[in-house]
């Protein structure tokens, strides 16, 4: 039998340090120039192409009725006039403040609702199918009953937003909870994270990616249903938001104003997504190593 002299302490540590160094992934951030070329240039190119085609339709007299298609410059003037008169930010703020407040309320209602449906079997069986069915119901359908219930006021607007956004947020959280790996729950339980502690320390953070995806969709639904509500429900006391601006343009046969409103609605929707939800989603995924690049 060969006698083997074994030493553990010093060698193990240094081998281990070497292994750690070898196996740790090297990562760096992509340079700014790359981001510029990859992410910024393509959408700008697309916008320029659309503007060129649009101007071409006007210049080549393919469409020459300004009540059907206004020229880009006419729409630009509509923007500039509202800006100079100080009304542009007012329109945007009226709608955005409504949208964000409504969305915040939807979050407060949708989160506990989603947790209940996700965790309590009876509640899931009772309202789970209705909740996912509600997602496919266009929330514009709620405008007429909301007007009857509340009249033409802000409560009616918020009702419509809530009915549009709550199902999305709750459903997102439910699917997030469903996708929590059972291993995490077992690991949590062996550490003593059971009941509410388990929900707070394990289930909720593990479900965060699905929850954020639900929020993102919930915002899109809030914004759409708010615009529908603003277009349909016109009342001087409600103030002029982007939906009203669009409707005002239509009644005045001012196509430039209609285009201005449509573009603003689009921009605000994109801006909120780019400024709030996309960074949130990227942060959640990146911190978990779920996002490459």
């Amino acid at each position: 039998m060969a006698s083997t002299e074994t030493t553990t302490a010093p060698t193990t540590g240094s081998v281990e340090a070497g292994l750690d160094a070898l196996e740790t992934a090297q990562s760096g951030r992509t340079p700014l120039r790359r981001t510029l070329v990859d992410k910024i240039v393509p959408p700008i190119t697309a916008i320029v192409v659309v503007l060129v085609v649009w101007q071409g339709l006007i210049s080549l007299k393919i469409v020459d009725d300004p009540t059907k298609l206004p020229s880009p410059s006419a729409v630009w003037d509509a923007f500039r006039n509202d800006w100079v008169e100080g009304k542009l930010l007012g329109y945007i703020w009226t709608s955005v403040s409504r949208g964000l407040l409504g969305f915040g309320l939807a979050l407060l209602i949708g989160t506990p609702l989603g947790l209940l449906v996700g965790r309590v079997r009876f509640v899931r069986a009772a309202i789970g199918p209705i909740l996912s069915g509600l997602q496919s119901l266009p929330s514009v359908a709620w405008v007429p009953p909301a007007v009857v219930w509340f009249g033409l006021n802000n409560s009616m607007m918020y009702t419509v937003i809530l009915l549009g956004a709550v199902p999305s947020i709750a459903n997102g959280l439910v699917s997030g909870v469903d996708q929590v790996p059972p291993l995490f729950l077992r690991a949590g339980r062996t550490m003593g994270a059971t009941g509410l502690k388990g929900t707070w320390h394990v289930t909720l953070p593990a479900a965060l990616p699905g929850y954020v995806a639900g929020m993102k969709q919930g915002w899109a639904f809030s914004w759409r249903s708010l615009m529908a509500a603003e277009i349909i429900a016109q009342f001087p006391d409600l103030g002029v938001g982007l939906g009203q601006l669009l409707e005002n343009g239509r009644t005045a046969s001012d196509m430039a104003m209609v285009f201005e409103a449509i573009l603003l609605i689009l921009f605000v929707g994109i801006a909120i997504d780019l400024l709030i939800f996309s960074p949130l989603e990227r942060w959640v995924l990146r911190s978990r190593g779920l996002l490459v690049s």
Partner: protein, 259 residues
């Protein structure tokens, strides 16, 4: 390095005691007996490996000891709630390495001001000083298992259950982690119940190897391993005993092909 953990106080004469434990599951083929009349003691500070082929119910047994499931018959008592380490690291990816450990401390009721230092100490114990702020995905497989070990140690349970914790690692890393586990076990005085299907690993680590038969799982035989630590997996005595155990294990497996 000064041992940072208090030695497990021998308040009882065992870290885990299993008495006539049976477990059956109701499956498509009716009642299926997975574990049959298992009696086993793990003494305080003892390192026991449970060895067996597929279908011996090793993981089921650990789940029972961990309190994640209840036995169909028999009783299990442990000295406090055991810590459990899995084949997958099971670290929470939304927390940093250090915060994973701090969560275990928090759930144990360690006050906030002490958690940070305690987590640093545990990271140092598994030789990951400076990894506190690292995200789980930034660590290698071996480093993740060491953080998982540190998190399990943070529970300060007298008994550590390990469910094939090194099975998914490459051979080089596994060797190193065997050394580390032996060192930490000696430093902390923990009792360890370690499940594996790797005979040499079982012999390399344990003071006692318990062989389980398959379908249903029963204690087939036990070996006291008297080779002094530190051992290496290549050592001749380790290989010799492994060979002996492998023969018995193969005999157990062979019985299943005969009908």
């Amino acid at each position: 390095m000064a041992p940072t953990l208090t030695k497990a106080a021998p308040s009882v004469e065992y870290a885990a005691r299993l008495e006539h434990v049976s477990k059956s599951f109701t499956g498509p083929a009716g009642q299926q007996l997975v574990l049959d009349d298992i009696s086993l003691d793990v003494a305080p500070g003892e390192f026991v490996t449970l060895l067996g082929a597929s279908g011996c119910g090793k993981s089921t047994l650990l789940n029972l000891v961990a309190g994640l499931d209840l036995p169909t018959a028999g009783s299990i008592s442990t000295d406090g709630r055991p810590a459990l380490m899995f084949q997958e690291h099971a670290l929470f990816p939304w927390l940093t390495a250090g915060k994973n450990i701090e969560l275990a401390l928090k759930l144990r009721g360690v006050p906030k001001p002490e958690r940070r230092d305690k987590a640093e100490e545990l990271l140092e114990l598994v030789r990951l000083k400076g990894a506190h702020g690292k995200r789980v995905h930034e660590l290698s497989g071996g480093m993740r298992q060491r953080v998982a070990l540190a998190r399990a140690l943070a529970q300060e349970s007298g008994l550590l259950l390990m469910d094939e914790p090194f099975a998914a690692l490459d051979a080089i890393t596994r060797d190193v982690l065997h050394d580390e586990l032996t060192r930490i076990w000696a430093e902390t005085g923990l009792s360890v119940l370690f499940v594996t299907h790797n005979v040499r690993e079982a012999v390399r680590l344990a003071q006692r190897v318990v062989l389980l038969s398959s379908r249903p799982g029963r204690v087939a035989r036990e070996w006291e391993v008297e080779i002094p630590q530190p051992r290496r997996i290549e050592d001749a005595p380790v290989a010799e005993l492994s060979l002996e155990i492998t023969e018995v294990l193969r005999g157990e497996i062979r019985r299943h092909g005969q009908h």
